[in-house]
């Protein structure tokens, strides 16, 4: 197991009380695999992984254990984390400018990382940076090496950010909505790149997205989050062919598909995403669930094993 997350809980202290953004979640990532993470905005996807990276906002705090390659990393000091972040694991975001310095040429941003973390000479650092820009598909990398981030187009900037994240050959790349802001033809390029890099570099990837289509093509396993909790975990085919949690099933059914000629009314999950500060006593999905029954009202369902590699958090024995 490359990443093993146990009982991770993330809380934020705000002026109107405490918000529990991630609520006691457990999951792991194997070396080389791609784990998809789906859920609506506010379901805790981003905060879960920012907690793992040690990048939470000042008013946030995380509890639990996070083992990376066997070593407990949750709560390490900033200095210790700096030796791991970008080296052992990297995270990329929807907005590339969160990881790039707007005032520094790409060349300097890249080579600095390499000399600092890998002790590479200037010449070797330049060579490795150019190789990576090449690998991520920046045409004429040499010519563009001394450009500033804003001089690249959206898709190219995303590639530069990916190249930066890969500089030290991390074992794990966490990609948070990496294509959400991109057009569909550019999204296809970036997804293809992430898939290719994963297999060529034997790097594990976590792909966080709200788009089930993106998950379907890239992931080996998927976890579905709702209201700060994991509600279902399954191999990708099983999840899509036979979702076991009413929320996963509802999400799949409510999506119009480009390969579907049907134009009848869409299935809808009624109601709104949950308010984390006013979660129901029992299952967070209860106000929107057509299967809710008595036990759902006052008992939060645990995430339990339902077969060798499937888990769900729902009181229903089996989904009709």
């Amino acid at each position: 197991m490359l990443l093993d997350v146990q009982n991770l809980t993330t809380r934020f202290h705000t002026h109107d009380g405490e918000v529990c953004a991630v609520n006691n979640i457990n999951f792991s990532v194997e070396a080389g695999e791609c784990l998809g993470v789906v859920g609506e905005s506010g379901s805790g996807k981003t905060q879960a992984f920012l907690s793992i990276m040690g990048l939470l906002a000042k008013n946030g705090s995380a509890d639990g254990q996070v083992y990376f390659d066997g070593r407990q990393i949750l709560g390490l000091s900033g200095n210790e984390l700096n030796n791991l972040r970008g080296v052992e694991f990297s995270m990329i975001f929807q907005d590339p400018m969160t990881s790039l310095n707007p005032f520094m040429r790409i060349s300097r941003q890249m080579t600095e990382v390499l000399s600092e973390h890998q002790g590479l000479s200037e010449k070797d650092a330049v060579k490795r940076s150019l190789d990576l820009l090449d690998l991520v598909g920046i045409p004429e990398a040499k010519k563009r090496f001394s450009m500033y981030p804003h001089e690249f187009s959206g898709g190219m900037r995303q590639r530069v950010m990916i190249a930066m994240a890969l500089l030290c050959e991390p074992k794990l790349l966490i990609a948070d909505e990496p294509t959400t802001a991109l057009d569909v033809t550019v999204q296809a390029q970036i997804l293809e790149l992430i898939a290719r890099l994963g297999s060529e570099l034997n790097m594990a990837t976590v792909l966080i997205t709200h788009d089930l289509g993106v998950i379907a093509g890239l992931s080996d396993r998927v976890m579905v989050m709702y209201g700060g909790r994991i509600v279902e975990k399954a191999p990708v085919r099983d999840l899509f062919k036979q979702p076991q949690h009413p929320y996963s099933k509802g999400l799949l059914e409510s999506m119009p598909r480009v390969d579907d000629s049907n134009n009848k009314s869409l299935y809808t999950i009624p109601g709104q995403p949950p308010d984390l500060q006013a979660l129901p006593l029992g299952c967070a999905f209860i106000p929107r669930c057509e299967h809710a029954f008595a036990p759902c009202e006052n008992q939060v369902p645990d995430l339990v094993k339902i077969s060798s590699d499937r888990f769900k958090a729902c009181h229903l024995e089996e989904l009709p």
């Binding site: 190219m156 296809a188 379907a216 093509g217 899509f240 119009p256 579907d260 009848k264 869409l266 809808t268």
Partner: protein, 341 residues
Amino acid sequence: MNSGAQSPVKEPILSVRNIKVYFPIQTAGLFSGTIPLKAVDGVDFDLLAGETLGVVGESGCGKSTLGRGILQLLELSDGNVVWMGNNIGGLSFREMKKYRKQLQIIFQDPLASLNPRMTIGDIIAEPLTVHYPELSAEERTQQVKDMMDRVGLLPLMINRYPHEFSGGQCQRIGVARAMILKPKLIVCDEPVSALDVSIQAQIINLIKGLQEDFGLSLIFISHDLSIVRHISHRIMVLYLGNAVEVADRKRLYNNPCHPYTQALISAVPIPDPDLEKAKQRIVLQGDLPSPLNPPSGCVFRTRCPLARDLCAREKPRLQQIDPDHQVACHFWQEAQDQRII
């Protein structure tokens, strides 16, 4: 033909002819002055009563500008817009007033499009206040409450403010405001793009239901080809301000003949791991060129796998290849034959 919605009457309610919207852009340096950014560069189409025209394309291709240009919310640089027999192209804001009752718009960002200092009741009532000042306060409130109820908002929330609502509810408020005058045409500009997946379906069903109940015509602008397939009768694909393919829903998805349409459709991820992993995809190289400096000839040629000399020299016209199908490509037959999707 168009299962689902009632079949539209064959008389265009809207005719758009060769409309252009150019924005003057200041250039600095040696050749300072202004050059035109051709956001919409000669688009034609007809819209029938009760029909939905989907408009798809990537960011910056001119979708929103086209929508606003049709409603005269932007000044046209050229072309005609004929609405129910009247040419409304170039009419002033005041002259447009009598048509505004019939022509409405819904925006992408639900919260940003609502005035934060007005109650939602006042927001929805505003068009009534402008166009039917003779209505009594009670009549107005009653109409607002009826419309709130119709779009799935609790009428008792009439005195709340926009920030108290979620994104999906704000979009319902936007829909109610657009519907309150019982318009004949609504331009929906990416109305669900900012919403969560589970809320998108609710709003799509709402818009479709209203269309069926009120016989609305819709121009549905979106970058999401799955949603557009679901909601439209006919679809126009835009690229750099030009319509490159227009076809009825069935033909566009089953038999796309423009290389760009083919690439767009093949790029959309399908929520099925088996299909998705086995799928052949046309991965276009590069990004959209700058609309300030569009390619000569065919606007798509810098990314087109079929491009050759003729494409750089001559701009392909949008030609009719079937009663319900138009394409702007010199080599559409070849594209059709080679299609991998």
